[in-house]
């Protein structure tokens, strides 16, 4: 039973990171209907930024986690940059297909740029948090979960109560109408990207705090699973991203721990990745709009 409980907590932690990433995905998809394949790689950008700035912070005598502020700034800048330089021009002239291909291209670009600049070997980041354990659960884990919930709540409030939030919702519902209502669509899109990418920096912080390593490919699998989480929860829905992230995190954790036992060794823990993909396939076939999403049909 203890094992189960600790796996569950583990799953919540992993899931919280997925949820943070999924929030970014869902916000961007909600507003420009694009699966930003490069989103996972924004995390990598955040990770490398932390690799450089954490020592800076320590040298300056400040708590290491303040480095995340710089990371957020860098990630947001990269996010907005990618949007303005690549996605926006393609969106104007291209089709659905070309925007998706552009996203894939940006993902490849970021991964390979990082490899060219920093090499393929993983870089170690010093411990960021020195938190006490509560019971059997590490302080890191609790912080991750709490942070995730806090961010989601803050985001929900932002989107529902503020003016910019209203603009975001307007643009995601009907871009043309929003333009007619005087919404500065380009600025709204940029801000959405900035927030989404900034969230990636948070996710990078929590990931690095746990695993201490950054490599240029750390973003791709993380991003993919977080995307699955966003779809599961209902893409475009902020609470949905949270739920989706936690479910995927727990599914992965529990399947790693129990799959072997349950199936008599036929399906081992190596299949946990495939299990996550299987969840995606089932969701897309049974209820593509996800747990909390709404169906938007095409007007004939």
């Amino acid at each position: 039973m203890e094992v189960f409980f600790s796996q569950l907590i583990n799953g919540l932690r992993v899931g919280s990171v997925y949820a943070l990433i999924a929030l970014g995905y869902t916000m961007v998809y909600g507003i420009i209907r694009l699966i930003n394949f490069a989103h996972g790689d924004f995390i990598m950008v955040g990770g490398y930024t932390l690799f450089f700035t954490v020592p800076l912070m320590t040298a300056a005598g400040m708590p290491p986690w303040l480095a995340v502020i710089l990371a957020i700034a860098v990630c947001a800048a990269v996010g907005v940059g990618v949007e303005k330089l690549a996605y926006s021009p393609v969106r104007k002239k291209g089709t659905k297909m070309s925007t998706l291909i552009t996203a894939i291209a940006m993902s490849l670009f970021l991964e390979n740029l990082a490899q060219a600049l920093f090499g393929a070997n993983p870089k170690q980041v010093k411990t960021i948090f020195n938190l006490p354990n509560i019971g059997n659960v590490s302080g890191n884990t609790i912080l991750t979960i709490v942070l995730c919930v806090a961010v989601m709540l803050a985001l929900q409030v932002f989107v529902q109560r503020t003016n910019m939030g209203k603009c975001m919702r307007a643009v995601s519902e009907d871009k043309e109408a929003a333009i007619l209502m005087g919404v500065n669509v380009n600025r709204t899109i940029s801000i959405t990207f900035a927030i989404g990418s900034g969230l990636a920096a948070f996710a990078a912080l929590m990931f690095v705090a746990q695993y201490s390593q950054v490599t240029n490919t750390m973003g791709s699998m993380l991003g993919l699973k977080a995307f699955i989480a966003a779809v599961l929860g209902g893409i475009g829905s902020i609470p949905g991203a949270m739920i989706g992230g936690l479910v995927i995190g727990m599914a992965e954790s529990l399947s790693k721990a129990y799959m072997g036992a349950l199936t008599g060794g036929v399906i081992t823990s190596a299949f946990s990745d495939a299990i996550v993909f299987l969840i995606l396939i089932v969701v897309l076939l049974v209820k593509p709009s996800g747990i909390l999403g709404k169906n938007a049909g095409e007007k004939v």
Binding site: A105, A116, A274
Partner: protein, 344 residues
């Protein structure tokens, strides 16, 4: 519409062109310039051509994004490799080189059928979705296939009864007879070409342009989508078989990752979605180039991704667009004078 005489002339010209290319190949191979390294590149070009043209059927002509093409290649590769190992162990068709070719053809066919079957299984549910969702679900299936293969006992190390999961498969019979592979590639491309220039091609292009209008002119969208997807997967299986039996004699599931699928997507997009010619050119150039530019390997993907974004901004349909090279037309232009060429 062309009449019988014109069609015959066209077919003869095309066949003659293919023969000329073949003889050039023979000359090159016999000249002694070709090391096993260059032979490897030639074989790589062949299966890349088949992969890219088959992916173009789905991406360019049908207009759907498929990110799991390497998965079907894997199915074809492993099926063919394992069957070949089993046949070799049982001493079936191993006596002479000619027998070896026949063994290869049988295994390749098995690989193609298996890949086609998987294409059907994946296609039926997946093609109910569109755009982004279809892209992700094909990616998911590709990854699932890869993970399954990775964990199959019979597909690792010595394979079959002596297999160990998680290891690269070794000891695969080698088939690198460039002449045989050339004609297999030609056959594959020809079949795909006839598919595209027929009611099937028109149907899938109509679905690509507007799938609501296509059903309203009486086309059964699901049928054509699944059919095309399955055929595309089958040819990926053929390419997989060729890949499995190339010089090295080993197969690793790393050869079929999502990254590989993206490689082929890039080739299709750059070559031109809707142009078989573009696919062939892109396959050759982008397969040979990395080998020739070994030194700058780490910058390869960097350059590709930038080029890809630029192409998406300035020519979203790809470099060749929907252009198709026609030998007949080309010759007319060269030799027949202006008036004749305009009539073609």
């Amino acid at each position: 519409m062309s009449n019988r005489k014109d069609r015959l002339k066209g077919s003869l010209i095309n066949f003659a062109g293919l023969l000329v290319l073949f003889f050039i190949l023979v000359l090159v191979m016999q000249s002694g310039v070709v090391s096993s390294y260059v032979r490897g590149i030639i074989v790589q070009c062949f299966f890349a051509i088949i992969m890219v043209t088959s992916l173009n059927l789905v991406m360019g002509f049908l207009g759907q994004i498929a990110l799991g093409h390497a998965g079907f290649m894997a199915v074809g590769a492993y099926t063919s490799a394992l069957l070949a190992k089993a046949m070799t162990q049982a001493n079936i068709l191993t006596a002479t080189p000619a027998a070896g070719v026949v063994q290869f053809l049988i295994c390749m066919a098995a690989g193609a059928l298996m890949a086609g079957l998987f294409g059907l299984i994946v296609g039926i549910p997946a093609l109910r979705l569109r755009g982004d969702y279809l892209a992700i679900i094909t990616l998911g299936f590709g990854e699932i296939i890869r993970v399954i293969i990775q964990n199959l006992k019979i597909a690792g190390s010595k394979g079959l009864a002596q297999g160990q999961a998680g290891q690269p498969l070794i000891g695969i019979p080698v088939m690198n007879n460039v002449y045989v592979l050339y004609w297999i590639m030609v056959l594959c491309v020809a079949i795909m070409f006839t598919f595209v220039r027929s009611k099937y091609g028109r149907a899938i292009m109509a679905i690509r342009e507007d799938d609501i209008a296509s059903s309203c002119v009486g086309l059964n969208n699901t049928y054509y989508k699944v059919l095309t997807f399955t055929i595309s997967a089958m040819f990926a299986g053929v390419a997989g078989a060729i890949f499995a039996h190339r010089g090295l004699g080993t197969l690793s599931q790393n050869d079929f990752s999502f990254l590989k699928s993206t490689d082929y997507v890039i080739m299709v997009v750059l070559g031109g979605m809707g142009s078989m010619t573009g696919s062939i050119v892109a396959a050759i150039v982008l397969s040979a180039l990395p080998e020739l530019l070994r030194a700058a390997a780490q910058y390869r993907m960097l350059v590709y991704s930038v080029v890809l974004v630029l192409v998406m901004i300035f020519k979203p349909t790809g470099l060749f667009g929907a252009y198709e090279f026609s030998l007949q037309r080309g010759l007319k232009r060269l030799f027949g004078g202006r008036k004749e060429a305009q009539k073609a």
